[in-house]
Amino acid sequence: MWQIVHKLGSPKWFYRVSGPWLPWLWSLSVVLLVIGTVWGLAFAPADYQQGDSFRIIYVHVPAAILAQSCFALLAICAVIFLVWRIKLADMAATVAAPFGAAMTFVALFTGSVWGIPTWGTWWVWDARLTSMLILLFLYLGIIALRGAFTSRDSGSRAASILALVGVINLPIIKYSVNWWNTLHQPATFSLTRQPAMPAEMWLPLLVMVLGFYMFFAATVTFRTRNEILRRESRTRWVRELAEKTH
């Protein structure tokens, strides 16, 4: 059984198998994002209180969900790398960290811009906003730590440990709006209850969230393949591949 796991963790095998998936992932994400953008910006109704500033939800919520999902992926990769020493997991973590940092930044930026007309401020130190800012610092710390060591393996281990410790922040972000008084409203989407808005408003949001997820899958797969090329650049199969494509 463990032999299969190690075969799955073989970079060469992953490179070969993931190739045919990429065009599908890219096109699916582009189609979903285009539909979601047109639907959310032009066709979804405005909110009765917030008017058209409500349309920011269609980028804010997907970015915030991806920022957290991406960190969960980092933590899972960290366990696999630290316990089983599977290098592929570390490669995926290397490329997922900048993606997550970008998504966290987008969530913070769009939230601030949305806060100006609705709340009357672009920033407040409430538990939700602060824990999201900590998430951004965790991402930046993981990226910096990986680069701070001369040996790649030490950098990978240090970054993995920070990802594992940082995963404690995820439940804090999620429950911050329930545990404490915050300016931020409770969650828009939940698995246990229906969204508190009509389908014509949440359907485009669902399309955008799926579009962001597909984009995440496509980018991380694509860049994991880049990382494989970088780390295995001295192996024969990579050399043959480079000569074939150029």
Partner: protein
């Protein structure tokens, strides 16, 4: 799993549990300080410091907003539908400020229990609806719901009470 891997797995899990306990204890120690604002009940009970800058949160009591004709002065009550705190503010109010709306106010409490606000922020809930639907609901509410009911009250309560009740308490 080889014994070596098993050992590493335990170390990793132990690390996460340890970090979780450390963070959990810190948050427990800070619990009151992590709240963004005091509720009207806490202010009336005297839990909020006097003369220091604090934040208060609650709903704008329906019918309490009084604007002065020639300046930006405005007074209103912030309420949790049990007790109210009178607020005085001089400045520009956010777009979402209206009677029945949730607000978070920065300012100082004076010894007469009056709150001098320096900033008023509007709080909204996670319920969104198109204007036409809101209009229909307002009409329906006017018919079957006792006078004084405001849908926003419900909204703020669900956000507020979630500290002591399950987050997904039944909503009307």
């Amino acid at each position: 799993m080889t014994p070596k891997r098993k050992q590493r797995l335990y170390i990793v899990l132990g690390l996460v549990v340890l970090a979780g306990v450390a963070v959990g204890l810190t948050l427990y120690a800070l619990r009151a300080n992590l709240n963004l604002f005091y509720s009207p009940q806490q202010i009336v009970d005297g839990d909020a410091p006097i003369g220091r800058q604090i934040r208060a949160g609650g709903l704008v009591r329906v019918g309490s907003v009084q604007r002065s004709g020639d300046s930006l002065d405005v007074t209103f009550d912030v309420t949790d539908y049990r007790v109210s705190v009178p607020i005085h503010y001089n400045g520009i109010l956010p777009d979402l400020f209206r009677e029945g709306q949730g607000v978070v106010i920065t300012g100082t409490l004076n010894d007469q229990g009056r709150f001098e606000a320096s900033e008023v922020l509007a709080k909204h809930d996670e319920k969104y609806m198109p204007p036409e639907v809101a209009e229909v609901m307002k009409k329906a509410n006017a018919k079957d719901v006792p006078a004084g009911y405001d849908p926003a009250r419900d909204a703020f309560d669900s956000a507020e009470s979630s500290t002591n009740a399950p987050a997904d308490a039944p909503r009307s």
